[in-house]
Symmetry: C2
Subunit: 352 residues, 2 copies
């Protein structure tokens, strides 16, 4: 966690804020290391306060370093308000309306809440060495689970069975699923966020298998589309287009380009293959403590990629009532390219 | 879900609201049945709108009945704002400050947001037949998992191993843990929210085992404290006090009493045994779609219990550095008493 408070201090200086109140638990964890379910922190020039309640006093002592711990007994917001002064950044994108109203009632005269949401999320985009190591471990774990899953075969099992078994395997290996695994076969593959169902996976079907592991708080996210036998000409053709789009988009990833630029590379290939309407989501997103965070790779994203950001690159084509294909790698942005954390092959793989 | 919109309409009439905008996903699920990750609804006299995005159009069609489904393409808040008029209740205890600001910018003249948080939570307190059946199933599943866990023995295993195995067993039986299981042995039992650790459970220790299952969205919550051999005079004594407090508090549960009244019954017994400082949490809480919801049973709760509310009754004594005991049942409030959903014995049970 070292240095994160200092980075936030610099943001405060840029925004002319005297204090920042951080209430989103993921952001609190990022700054302080605290993993419990009730915590907040206040940052300012040389100021580091961390707040929790009696249930977490011991955990905070073990986890939080460089922030003065305060165990609040009684009025939570009053204890925080006491430590605020001047222009106070609040996480307006998380803080509930009612909480802000109550807080206002407890602030000393002259203390002014200022909308400063996404400040910590901005810091979270660029990962440090420890974070990159944790993310790489999570990715490696997930890759093992794909291999383990396809070794057990897909055809003849229900989507739900495959998904649940993969999640259980992630847990056996010491992680947690970073989201409920998606296993969507045949026509279900056309629903990008299908809930794995009781439908039995047939032969000659394309199976979208989207999986992520969370380890030490950090997430991975990836997708492979497998075939349970020859998926036919249309299936093979769609797969090839998605693969070419994915490979081309990967080559466009590097520091200094925008999310829109990278997205456009994949979208152009899919458009030219006549499927412009069938790629209904953005190309990718950042991943870290949350499975969806900044930057965004999408038609509307002016996010500039920077070294050590971690993003997915996941074009897809979805033909309603027929099939879906999505291929998703998980990469670290570098000065002049990327480092791919996904180790699984991307050629169309036939499995039982 | 039938009738829930009508119950909300009556709340709106009482509060002189023309519309209610519901954005909390648990509340949206309660009202409409929708289980996806992006949805909102607007309720008014004869008005039922449900909003989601293209990813969930099909799921909404399958799950949502009695609400007009709207798949929003483009500006989410604009689509909602169009359907609002007059005094609009908002969930100020959930809605982020920024979202309200953006919404205000899109409202027609004369449309006025009014703080109306907890309106749906209030409805959720009293369960209907279907909810009670789901909760009873979840509770039964959890009871099976305790029995299964203690059959495998506790002493010699790590707390984490016992907790993870119990969670895996819940999943094997078709549920999900409603919270991470707590297994806290010996001195760790004195930390009410201990994270199960690598410490091996010894012989002659008290083991706090707090577990819940979620099935079809509905949660259970319960605790038993087991002994891995004779826990000694102090342990036996503390257990007996907690058990007497729990039994007495249960007998105080019925419609029309306050949460404070029931809490006081247990607290008095614990105080009189000389442990007044060692029962540092409230006696219990409601359970439903969330594992913690209304009503509260605590020293400060003026919540009046009503028939078909579902609450925990969970006194505990925690002796720092030594041991902890908590006994938690999970009951349905009745007109003149309660129906206990927990089926496990409460006498001190010795396990391997």
């Amino acid at each position: 966690m070292r240095g994160r408070g200092e980075r936030l201090e610099r943001v405060l200086a840029e925004r002319e804020l005297d204090r920042m109140l951080v209430t989103d638990l993921t952001n609190v964890r990022y700054l302080t290391g605290f993993t419990g379910t009730n915590g907040a922190c206040v940052c300012g020039p040389g100021i580091r306060f961390f707040f929790t309640d009696f249930r977490y006093t011991e955990r905070a002592a073990a986890e939080v370093e460089g922030w003065e711990p305060i165990t609040v007994q009684g009025d939570w917001l009053a204890a925080i308000a006491e430590r605020l002064e001047g222009r106070v950044g609040i996480e307006d994108d998380h803080l509930p309306v009612r909480t802000l109203e109550k807080l206002r009632g407890k602030l000393a005269e002259g203390v002014e809440p200022v909308a400063a949401g996404s400040s910590v999320e901005g810091l979270r985009r660029v990962k440090d060495e420890g974070e990159l190591a944790a993310i790489a471990e999570a990715s490696k774990l997930a890759d093992e689970v794909w291999l383990w899953s396809v070794e057990r075969g897909l055809a003849g099992r229900s989507e739900r069975d495959v998904a649940r078994a993969a999640e259980a395997r992630i847990r056996e290996l010491g992680g947690d699923p970073s989201f409920p695994a998606i296993v969507a076969a045949g026509p279900n593959g056309a629903l990008p966020h299908a809930e794995p169902g009781e439908r039995e996976i047939g032969r000659g079907e394309l199976v979208v298998f989207d999986l992520g592991a969370q380890l030490d708080g950090y997430c991975s996210d990836g997708t492979r589309t497998y075939a349970t036998g020859d998926p036919g000409e249309e299936g093979r053709g769609v797969y090839e287009v998605v693969l070419q789009a994915q490979l081309a988009a990967l080559e466009a990833v590097k520091a200094g380009v925008t999310g829109e630029d990278v997205d456009a590379v994949a979208r152009k290939i899919i458009d030219e293959a006549g499927h412009c309407e069938r790629f209904g989501h953005g190309l990718g997103h950042g991943v870290g403590l949350e499975v969806h965070e900044g930057p965004r790779l999408s038609p509307k994203s002016d996010d500039l990629l920077a070294p050590n950001e971690v993003v997915t690159v996941e074009p897809g084509i979805y033909l309603p009532g027929k099939l879906g294909v999505r291929i998703e790698d998980f990469v670290v942005v570098a000065e002049d390219g990327y480092r791919n954390l996904s180790t699984l092959p991307k050629e169309l793989t036939l499995v039982e």
